[in-house]
């Protein structure tokens, strides 16, 4: 390298040194927390024997993955993907809508509304399952009591699987929208008000302002949140799919996801290798999907590509 270039890149580095130092604790933590255990992923391809340790245990190829693709197991993948897609769409739309409504509000009630919608998020899914049970219980549930009062027949909710996709999407939204909302509210709060002032001076109505300023400005946040959600498309909230349906066998066809299937299979077997294989499978698919989506973004909307 010639003298000039070398000096320049050194100066650049020096300039950014404080930035690197600031990032150091975070990067260190990520290294310790996420990278150091990573080699353990090889357990997915091994038959772990405690005596031999991780590195001494024998390789078994893809044997540990077979159970995820058994004849009767394809539906778990279908369920996981479909639910996650539904969650992404429903939660994003609802969260943006509510965030916009709240940001536009000037009344004092705004704080009350926002606190209210966040409350469900604080509950653990076990409690949520109790609450759902309070509504959907066959003998004493609120919903059945209402149905009977209106002259109808009580429904055995925990046996009829056809209602559950809606129930689960609803419960997931109920629990999560308050949380997702916050991100969008914070982003909207950070927008430069001069855009809006200019629009108002041009005579734009609220609807127009939302359509033409707020939503486009939100685009990059939405894209980022969505891409990250896509990366987790093979994961599921265990509490939501195991506790809320109260582990009712009749509902398995629509509530068994990869995570719950793995849990049920391995409860007796206790096989570390098989659960490592499941984790690996979920990670790899998510990883590939994120890379794929990112490539797409690079072509169509390079500013918003993640990397």
């Amino acid at each position: 390298m010639r003298m000039g270039e070398k000096k320049r890149s050194l100066m650049r580095f020096k300039r950014f040194l404080p930035i690197y130092l600031m990032m150091l604790p975070g990067l260190l933590y990520l290294f310790i927390n996420s990278y150091m255990p990573l080699p353990g992923l090889v357990l997915a391809f091994k038959n772990y024997n405690a005596n031999k340790g991780i590195y001494g245990s024998p390789w078994v190829g893809f044997k540990n993955f077979k159970y995820l693709f058994a004849n009767d197991a394809w539906y778990i993948t279908r369920n996981t993907i479909l639910y996650n897609l539904a969650f992404i769409v429903v939660n994003t739309c609802l969260a943006i809508a509510i965030a916009i409504i709240l940001s536009e509000m000037s009344s004092k009630m705004k704080k009350v509304y926002q606190s209210s919608i966040l409350m469900p998020f604080m509950l653990s899914t076990v409690i949520v399952s109790y609450l759902v049970y309070a509504f959907l219980g066959t003998d004493y549930g609120q919903l059945n009591s209402l149905l009977v009062k209106l002259g109808g027949q009580p429904i055995s909710w925990y046996v009829e699987s056809k209602y559950w996709p809606f129930i689960l999407v609803f419960v997931n939204a109920w629990k999560g929208v308050g949380y997702s909302c916050i991100v969008y509210i914070a982003t909207i709060t950070g927008f430069d008000t001069s855009y809006y002032e200019a629009a108002v001076m041009d005579g734009a109505s609220k609807w127009q302002q939302i359509r033409l300023i707020t939503i486009p400005l939100l685009k990059s946040t939405v894209i980022m949140m969505t891409v990250l959600a896509i990366g987790r498309i093979f994961y599921s909230d265990f509490g939501l799919f195991y506790q809320v349906p109260r582990n009712s066998g009749a509902l398995f066809r629509v509530t068994n996801t990869i995570d719950t299937y793995v849990y049920r299979s391995l409860l007796e077997l206790g096989d570390i290798n098989m659960s490592a294989a499941a984790g690996f499978y979920q990670s790899i698919v998510g990883f590939l999907l994120v890379i794929g989506t990112n490539l797409l973004l690079r072509k169509k909307d390079p500013e918003n590509a993640i990397f």
Partner: protein
């Protein structure tokens, strides 16, 4: 200037973390101080072993330490071993044990409860107890006590665990019914003995109970149909391929296509149709004894064993009556291997561990310490010899793991109040009189069939409660379930079982 500020931020972060680390360490050293103290003043010839098992009530730190000290006083003298007890509760036990075993922390003795003996062996956690004649040299007492059942813990000929001394057989088709409800319909029964009746008589009682108490749940189902009602040996602890005539034939057949299974399921379906069973039975958290105790339910299925009346009455909190239909009992092959005591294959003190286990199998004082804690602190002995909680303690004592049937040799321990004083003798009598399964001592290794097992488990879980709690017509649902199981490899699974069983019996 700027560098200083950055450094300031970093330094303070490091300091905080450091302080917390110090906090954390001192915290843990406080709780371990009792252990380290005893280590410090003990001569090097005494070995310390860590023994882990499940306790339904986790002892307090002080209670556990006191019991450890009491045990160590004896064991230090007699066998030169000290113990560190690790008692954990329900769900976290299996998780913690797996992590400790795979993570190579010191754990010398452990019980396989909630983990599955087969998987524990397959993962290589257990020590071959006959290696270097370990058990013959240091565990002769235990071998003698468990002579009838110890072979049940052999896997492919190698001995990996020692079973506990407990009830191995019990009578099937036992029904527990609340006494006050029976009084209400004017049925006369024997309060102290098990009432032997016929199926028709039982159905009759149920009809009357339901009529008299329509607002209560006449029958509370739980997942006991197979073990409680059907005479079969569930080889390898799963229901996929069982021996339907365990005392006479080694043939493995499909439980789900058997007439016995269909009959039991039809009965419960009929009961459900007649309204005996709550619509929420499949999703309710409530146990059968809780339901009976709170007057929400009346009866449930229960295996009949020695002391069952007093036991169930205590669990329900009010008197109950025991009924039995038929006189069927069985010592199943898998009972011995359900919760054996094992030694960690990575243990650095196998001899010490073996000596300690042996002591628990043979020494009544140690057995009582382990099961009930310290006399007059954790329990008292009444005039008639019954053990119970100290006066005024309200059941809250420092050490009471509440799991006496898991103990190595329960028969050495005192009889807790609520059981008749000769309950151990009665239990032994039933054990000896029951027919023994021909597959006793056989362990099924399903490591190669985990895919099928996973699929079958999920399918069975899907249908199980619906069928066995009577919510669907078994004539429709059972064939459907069986077909899906066949698609998932049930036949291959059963064939493998039969093969292993046949091979094993040739070597007997």
């Amino acid at each position: 200037m700027k560098v200083k500020r950055i450094l300031a931020v970093l330094m303070s972060t490091i300091m905080v973390v450091g302080m917390l680390a110090a906090c954390g360490n001192s915290g843990s050293s406080e709780t371990n101080s009792s252990a380290s103290e005893s280590e410090a003043d003990v001569p090097q010839s005494v070995e310390k072993v860590v023994m882990g098992f499940l306790g339904f009530s986790v002892p307090s730190a002080e209670g556990e330490a006191a019991v450890e000290a009491a045990i160590n006083e004896i064991t230090r003298e007699k066998i030169g071993v000290e113990v560190d007890l690790l008692i954990m509760d329900g769900m976290s036990y299996a998780q913690q044990m797996t992590l400790m075993l795979s993570g190579n922390e010191q754990l010398d003795i452990f019980n396989c409860i909630a983990m599955g003996f087969t998987s524990v062996v397959n993962n290589g956690y257990t020590l071959d107890l006959e290696e270097n004649n370990l058990i013959q040299t240091y565990g002769a007492g235990a071998m003698e006590v468990m002579a009838d059942y110890i072979d049940g813990c052999r896997f492919d000929g190698t001995l990996y665990g020692i079973p506990q001394n407990k009830d191995y057989a019990s009578y099937q088709n036992g029904y527990i019914i609340a006494a006050d409800d029976l009084d209400g319909i004017g049925y006369s029964y024997s309060a102290a003995e098990v009432n032997k009746i016929t199926w028709d008589e039982l159905e009759n009682i149920m009809v009357q109970l339901h009529e008299a108490y329509p607002e209560k749940n006449t029958f509370i189902p739980q997942r006991v149909l197979v073990g409680g009602s059907i005479f079969c040996d569930t080889i390898g602890n799963d229901n996929f391929g069982v021996m339907m005539k365990p005392d006479t034939s080694l043939e493995i057949s499909n439980l789900f296509t058997s007439p016995e299974y269909m009959e039991a399921c039809q009965r419960i379906y009929r009961w459900n149709q007649m309204g005996y069973i709550s619509g929420d039975a499949m999703t309710s958290d409530q146990g059968n004894t809780e339901a009976v105790g709170s007057n929400a339910g009346i009866s449930y299925l229960c295996n009949i064993k020695a002391g069952v009346i007093t036991q169930e009455s205590a669990r329900c909190g009010k008197p109950v009556v025991a009924f039995q239909i038929g006189e069927v009992s069985l010592v199943a092959s898998s009972t011995a291997s359900s919760n054996p005591w094992c030694i960690n294959s990575n243990s650095e003190h196998p001899e010490a561990a073996m000596k300690l286990l042996n002591a628990f199998y043979t020494d009544p004082e140690l057995a009582n310490l382990l099961a009930y804690g310290i006399k007059d602190v954790d329990y008292v002995i009444a005039g008639d010899g019954h053990y119970s909680f100290p006066e005024g303690s309200d059941g809250k004592v420092g050490y009471h793991p509440n799991i006496s049937w898991l103990m190595p040799n329960q028969f050495l321990t005192g009889v807790w109040e609520g059981n008749s004083l000769d309950v151990w003798e009665q239990t032994e009598a039933i054990n000896k009189s029951a027919p023994v399964s021909k597959a006793s001592g056989f362990m099924f290794d399903n490591a190669e069939l985990s895919t099928e097992y996973a699929a079958l488990t999920n399918i069975y879980d899907e249908y199980r409660d619906q069928i066995e709690f009577g919510f669907v017509d078994p004539e429709v649902a059972i064939p459907e379930m069986v077909q899906r199981m066949n698609n998932a490899g049930l036949e291959a699974y059963m064939a493998a079982k039969q093969q292993q069983l046949d091979d094993w019996s040739k070597d007997q």
